[in-house]
Amino acid sequence: MSILTQLDGAMNLLHKVLDLRTTNQQVIASNIANADTPGYAPASFQFEKQLRNAVSEVDIRPVTNQPGHFAITPDSINQIKGEITRSPDKTRIGDQNGVKLDQEMINLSENQILYEAAMTMLNKKLALLKYSANDGK
């Protein structure tokens, strides 16, 4: 963890969000690339729930104190990995490709806008830091 993220928790969060959005973009790109591949099941990358769990102040968390236990809520923002779910074609018509190209294009632009939103917030944070480092000048 760099000194900047230690100074500001939100910076750490924004860093993680940018990472996850980049991965999401790659997953969407993979779906669009395979829009004509027979039998391809599109993947979707979900991390919002894990992120919410990590950010929200929950007092009650399941504890892992046995070797057989596994954590069901991530402890910190840095541990969020997201999850992949595949949705195969259910119509059984044609080449059995499950990609909905229009939906993927919407996901692509949504992801891009949210990436840019996180980027803008990060820039504002850095501008604030710069402002205070320059003694408010």
Binding site: N34, D36, M119
Partner: protein, 144 residues
Amino acid sequence: MDLFTTFDIASSAMRAQRTRLNTISSNLANVETTSTPEGGPYKRKSTYFQTIPMAFEDRLQNSIASKALQGVKVKEILEDDSEPQKVYNPSHPDADEFGYISLPNISVLKEIVDMSSAVRSYEANTTVIKSAKRMALKALEIGR
């Protein structure tokens, strides 16, 4: 896993779609071809796509998303072995003893529809590249 993986994925798809378009243009060019070096009329060719795993080094690290990252390639170009169309034309040099010639098993309508589909898929992938480029350029502006 970096920003350029997106470029790799989208470019693999663009390459595959271009091969598909070449095949379609070959079919359309040979819609009336009655003789080929292999003998017989031209046979309709179609591309067959297959996924390819991307980001091999990430695969070794066993990251969750890396399994979902798949590009695409043309696995093979198949020949359509369906029956050729028979047309009565006794004066044609390729006519058989009954005066029929064998025209390729190509439907122009199908090829045009396939062509539009290939073009649209190609365009979708250029949009992905544009989006990835915009994100990469935005990342260069951190702290400006």
